[in-house]
């Protein structure tokens, strides 16, 4: 199958799934026992105010009409207004999204680079020191709870050693000029190097905590994949052609070994989004994850539904991209 038609088919499936997601979120937020109006106004509001609020929130219409309203709003990008901030949810999301993206990108880069490297070295130098170290590192990576490790590292690096900050994206007394919303980019664009390095320091621990378990997964898959590839017949052919070990590994083995790793990266991005929730909470990172947690704890329903839909959308898009990359990398997959 051509790569183009493959992409179209997957896009169509994705749209179907997103539609289903919207329906589910709608259903979940409407069948919950708690009454949002009661949550906003408190228990002792006079009936007329309750009715007025109910009307304002559109809760007095039939369930079907509410569904149509909701879907119509979605298509227009209207996710409702946050009960906590009274702003459109979409505005809230757009404000916090860049911070999460910055963290996610930095973590996935960290995880892929370190993970692929460790997995590669582990396979090539099987049963040597680097292999043992990498395997221990990896199994701890998927076993240690991220939220706990984060706190322990804050304890060590902030409380005891004072080397790294304990949270936030940058120090409180620095004011970034907001151009793109991405602090690192903005600081470079506006030439504020002080802010840049400050933001980098703040990025270190969250990146490590968020990326650690992904690094572990990637390293493990890379190791297994590499060991598998190194036993294949075409590696023997490559060596019979007189290619040096380094060329055989980097040009022949690596390309083939990376293929399963690509799917894992997609899966890892999903767990990265999950993990972002915890990491942002611990490090007070002003991102989408923390926004969602706060919305959940304050029962801010529009924000909860808007936020989860948004995350589902991002997650599906990333999976789509990964599927496309996978088909592009492995010609056998296209047919």
């Amino acid at each position: 199958m051509e790569l183009g038609s493959f992409i179209l088919k997957r896009l169509f499936l994705m749209v179907l799934v997103i539609f289903g997601v919207l329906i589910i979120v709608f259903v979940v937020t409407r069948i919950i026992p708690a009454d949002p109006v009661g949550a906003i106004l408190g228990g002792n509001a006079p009936p007329s105010t309750v009715d007025a609020m109910r009307h304002q929130l559109g809760l007095d219409k039939s369930i079907f009409a509410q569904l149509l309203d909701y879907l119509g709003g979605m298509l227009r990008g209207n996710l409702g207004n946050s009960l906590v901030s009274s702003r459109p949810v979409i505005t809230d999301i757009m404000e916090y999204l860049p911070a999460t993206i910055e963290l996610a990108i930095s973590s996935i880069l960290f995880a892929v680079i370190l993970g692929v490297l460790l997995g590669l070295l582990s396979a090539v130098f099987r049963n040597h020191f680097i292999d043992h170290f990498s395997r221990v590192f990896s199994i701890l990576g998927i076993s240690l709870p991220g939220f706990w490790l984060g706190l322990i590292l804050i304890l060590i690096f902030y409380y005891k050693l004072g080397w790294l900050p304990s949270g936030g994206q940058y120090d409180m007394f620095l004011f970034p000029t907001r151009i793109t919303g991405f602090v690192l980019l903005d600081s470079i664009i506006s030439g504020d190097w002080n802010l840049f390095f400050n933001a980098l320091k703040h990025l270190i621990l969250p990146t490590f905590i968020l990326g650690y378990s992904s690094t572990a997964s990637i390293a493990r898959i890379m190791r297994a994949s590499m060991l598998d590839v190194l036993h294949q017949n075409y590696i023997r052919t490559a060596r019979a052609k007189g290619l040096s070990k380094r060329v055989v590994i980097l040009r022949h083995a690596l390309k083939n070994a990376l293929i399963p790793v690509i799917t894992i990266i997609g899966l890892e991005f999903g767990s990265l989004l999950s993990g972002a929730v915890l990491t942002e909470t611990i490090f007070a990172w002003p991102g989408l994850g923390r926004y969602i947690v706060n919305s959940l704890l304050t029962l801010d329903y529009p924000a909860i539904s808007g936020g989860t839909i948004f995350i589902a959308l991002i997650y599906s898009l990333v999976n789509l991209v990964v599927d496309i990359l996978y088909a592009a990398a492995d010609p056998r997959m296209r047919s």
């Binding site: 499936l13 179907l16 799934v17 997103i18 289903g20 997601v21 589910i24 979120v25 979940v28 937020t29 919950i32 026992p33 708690a34 199994i139 701890l140 998927i142 076993s143 240690l144 709870p145 991220g146 939220f147 706990w148 490790l149 706190l151 322990i152 804050i154 304890l155 409380y159 999903g270 767990s271 990265l272 989004l273 999950s274 993990g275 929730v277 915890l278 909470t281 611990i282 969602i292 947690v293 959940l296 704890l297 029962l299 909860i304 989860t308 995350i311 589902a312 997650y315 599906s316």
Partner: protein, 305 residues
């Protein structure tokens, strides 16, 4: 009981002997698995750790030196000592006792989640795989929708929607976990339904329900159980994460994630409240992961000789 030495002997032997003889290939396979398991250090260490964990949970009330919920404000926030190896928390409770009793909660959590998620997963998967066609498509799209969310986020949303309690957190995680087993069960169902002997049984008048229950189900259970063991670590971490965020067990339940969260405000001066329950989580998850790795190695056809 004497082992029958020939087919003729078996024919004359008891029904039980016949049963064993018919299942000989499967029993031999299991014996070989156990042999390999004994030879795999990872699997053994993992099993030992899990064993310790289960024993602690079983004998928790006997092992815990003090009450897990009784407060003693006169002695709050004391550092670890001989009398209190894990120290005291902000309410004067012995952290060690809380951790020990918390193991019971963890066992509860993983047990119930396992039962619920496997049940739903097997049902959905077997029905989808067995009937195929439209039923399959619909069920798979539903599964896709659940898979469109990062797992923790979905579990969090469910937990919040259902109001944060331990029970609801367990339900929430189960609602997210079943998809994995559904896929596996479906694959097995597809494999089984195309076997010739299924056609034969159907010709003899067996109903779909009977076939699904007596033939597809036994084949599907084993890969699902294996996958469950390998995912147990993730399940525990998810449950602890919900507890940490306040979306799971509510105070004063000594759930490990919740205790870690408790200790967060006291991290600087009273590090022990956070450290020890977290180590308990890490230790238990490590045990399951080691066992899972070992199982995966044992099942690897290249090593199984």
């Amino acid at each position: 009981m004497n082992k029958p030495s020939s087919a003729a002997d078996v024919a004359q032997g008891s029904a039980f002997q016949k049963f064993l003889h018919e299942r000989k290939p499967m029993l031999d396979d299991m014996k070989h698995s156990v042999y390999l398991w004994k030879k795999t250090p990872l699997a053994l260490i993992g099993t030992v750790i899990i064993g310790i964990f289960l024993l602690i949970a079983l004998f928790a009330p006997l092992l815990a030196p003090y009450s897990a919920v009784g407060t003693d404000l006169a002695h709050k926030l004391e550092a670890p000592s001989a009398a209190h190896p894990f120290g005291l928390d902000q309410f004067g409770r012995d952290v060690l006792s809380r951790v020990i009793m918390g193991s019971r909660i963890e066992v509860q959590i993983i047990f119930i989640i396992s039962v619920i998620s496997i049940s739903i997963g097997l049902c959905v998967g077997i029905i989808a795989g067995y009937f195929g066609g439209v039923v399959d498509e619909i069920l798979m799209r539903i599964t896709d929708i659940f898979l469109a969310f990062p797992r923790l986020v979905l579990a969090m949303a469910f937990a919040a929607a259902l109001r944060p309690t331990l029970t609801n957190a367990i339900v929430a995680i189960s609602l997210v976990e079943w998809t994995v087993y559904a896929r596996l069960a479906r694959a097995e169902a597809i494999k089984v339904r195309s076997q010739p002997y299924i056609e034969a049984i159907r010709a003899l008048g067996a109903s779909d329900a009977k076939i699904m229950f007596f033939h597809v189900l036994p084949m599907s259970i084993s890969p699902v159980i294996v996958q469950l063991t390998m995912r147990m670590g993730t399940i525990i971490l998810t449950a602890a994460s919900l507890g940490f965020l306040g979306l799971g067990a509510q105070p004063p339940l000594p759930e490990w994630g919740a205790i870690v969260s408790d200790g967060r405000s006291y991290l600087m001066e009273n590090w022990w409240i956070t450290t020890f329950p977290g180590m308990a989580i890490a230790f238990t998850v490590l045990g399951f992961n080691l066992l899972g790795d070992g199982i995966r190695d044992i099942l690897d056809p290249r090593i199984r000789r």
